[in-house]
Amino acid sequence: MPVGTETLDTVQSVTQSGYKWGWETDIEMDLAPKGLNEGTIRLISSRKQEPEWLLAWRLKAYAAWQQMQEPHWARVDHPPIDYQDLHYYAAPKQKPGPKSLDEVDPELLTTYEKLGSPLEERAILAGVDPASIEGGSQIAVDAVFDSVSVATTFRETLKKAGVIFCPISEAVRDHPELVQQYLGSVVPVSDNFFAALNSAVFTDGSFVYIPKGVRCPMELSTYFRINARSTGQFERTLIIADAGSYVSYLEGCTAPMRDENQLHAAVVELVAFDDAQIKYSTVQNWYPGDAEGRGGIYNFVTKRGACRGARSKISWTQVETGSAITWKYPSCVLQGDDSVGEFYSVAVTNNCQQADTGTKMIHIGKRTKSTIISKGISAGRSNNTYRGLVRVLPKASGARNHTQCDSLLIGDCCGAHTVPYIESRNPTAKVEHEATTSKIADDQLFYCRQRGLSEEDAVGLIVNGFCRDVLKELPMEFAVEAQKLLAVSLEGSVG
């Protein structure tokens, strides 16, 4: 039998291995009734004891959302979403404000263990004194369980450096001036349908502020989990890097197995001032649905960073392997002169997964520079689209962009699409776009197998090689995890 056919068969058998991270945690939940109306928003706001200005902000977003239509320009297909059939607030019932991890529900800690957090982090979550943890860098974890942050570690170390890293609901209470000034300043409430929805109903997320000239002493990391049945998750993250500061933020996601589709509509806003740098890395592994395309997360995310200051830099690195639908375009608005935007992406789709992802680089300041490296891998009957916009505005003299989009196909029932939009309104700008599409060739597989590798190891090796330019941008802690994830996502995809 020619390898081509076998390849296909095994792609189809991939799913049988099942979703490793599918389980459900039994914790008593505090649920809002299903449905979305002003009452729901007032309930969320009051549960979170929010100030009046935030409630007004939410209501404004809700009013905008009501006037908007769900977007359908992306190359994704899904049945209509009933926005009235979701719970918009779910919080694990707990004694208020655990002072230490001992007070945290042990079930939660078990959940994080199953998530396979690196040992270091698990130790931290288990309450081991950070000072006694051997080896390597320290990672602060603001663990988000459904909607409420349950454990925040390393707060003290960060506090000494003047870094604020806390749940955004806490920041609303403790640093209202910062939140009020920057929330919605990068992604306005009426930016798009899903951002407006998020602004109206977001329940929690992370807030980071790095003061002037401070290099954040550790990587910041958040694990998001969706756990309650029919609960949409609307995370809100806001990171502000003041002049001359540096922060690396890691975000990783896994979700338990579900029958129903779940909606995830997060918003992430980044602000970088003069000479500041933000490195934002994501490994996304939400439940992708089964082999027939049943279930799986709908991931509609708005991520945007504003390089407000001169010589500021924002880097997005993402490894997207999960979700039934991924709709995500982490972008950079390059306002400051000589500011730099980067987007490094690996998107893997298998079975019936659909991904429409890419970036927007908006060049406003002089000599602004952007780099886009996108690696799409399609297997099974999946569809994988890169959609990117590079826009150079009239004042952006000397702006530069380099885009490299590579697609790798496994089997011949999948699709790869590249949709680049380039708009240059400054004659001195240089914009380059390169794109390639390739298949894992039978002779590559045979070559590896002749040297002793199993077919699966060979696919893993070839795919990791294909993604190397992106994976090397990830912090070490994530790079290893991401490599494993790529292999697992494509397990048996050739055979």
């Binding site: 039998m1 045979f446 590896c448 197998r449 002749q450 590798l453 077919e455 090689g465 294909f466």
Partner: protein, 249 residues
């Protein structure tokens, strides 16, 4: 010992090998010579398990293993190594990590302990040096941006590191200058010993001046038409294939 009996194989229903009988005793190096299209590369691929070829008859065993019933990676673990005529590029995959993964996969399947990164690098660097190859050979991506000669030398380096029991060299000499040819020959000669046998496929006598074979076989029309000692290669060089094929007919 490699024992091939009545081996026939076809690609897309077109018969290529038409009953090959060949025995390579342990410790011997045999050369296979023959005109284009005689089935030399097909023989190499069938023995190593490439599945574009349908085996239509016969047997092939190596040290008692039924090769034809094994997956390519199982054959590799049993000690079969193919130096490719056209080595394949693996973008983004470093030569060292590729070789270490391969070596450890073979060792695992043989029940041997795996080498850690330090042990492996020590071994790999020693072999690189021994074969007078540049250090960056290990750092570069597998065959990416290699010249034709570098690719062939890389095959020999891989062979030196993986230490096979049966090496099949498929026209490894083609496109090599004399210096590279000597390196390839050294790679094979240094492995020669009671535990190692090789099948050296070549068009030319030239390589056999450096790797002196125990036996030479002439393949034509999917059959071995003559076998003899090293002198057969010289006879072939003098007469050319056409005359020898005509004589054998």
């Amino acid at each position: 010992m490699l024992e091939i009996r009545g081996l026939s194989a076809a690609i897309d229903d077109k018969p290529i090998l038409q009953g090959i009988d060949l025995t390579v005793p342990q410790g011997e190096v045999h050369a296979i010579m023959g005109p284009n299209g005689s089935g030399k590369s097909t023989l190499a691929y069938v023995l190593s398990g490439r599945d574009d070829y349908a085996v239509t008859g016969g047997t092939a065993t190596f040290n008692g293993h039924d090769l034809l019933a094994m997956e390519p990676e199982e054959r590799a673990a049993a000690g079969v190594f193919l130096a490719f005529q056209y080595p394949v590029e693996l973008p983004g995959v470093g030569n060292a990590s590729f070789l270490r993964t391969a070596l450890n996969a073979q060792r695992r399947s043989r029940g041997e302990s795996e080498l850690d990164a330090v042990q492996f690098l020590k071994l790999a660097r020693a072999e690189t040096k021994r074969l007078a190859m540049p250090d960056d050979m290990l750092r570069r991506n597998v065959n990416v941006g290699f010249s034709g000669g570098e690719k062939k030398r890389n095959e020999v380096l891989q062979m030196a590191i993986l230490r096979p029991k049966l090496a099949i060299l498929d026209e490894t000499d083609s496109g090599l200058d004399i210096d590279a040819l000597k390196i390839v020959a050294r790679g094979v000669n240094e492995l020669r010993g009671p535990e190692f046998s090789a099948l050296v496929i070549t068009h030319y006598q030239r390589l056999l001046d450096h790797i002196v074979p125990d036996r030479v076989h002439v393949l034509a029309g999917g059959r071995i038409i003559r076998s003899g000692g090293p002198e057969l290669a010289h006879e072939l060089e003098a007469k050319g294939y056409a005359e020898m094929v005509a004589e054998a007919a």
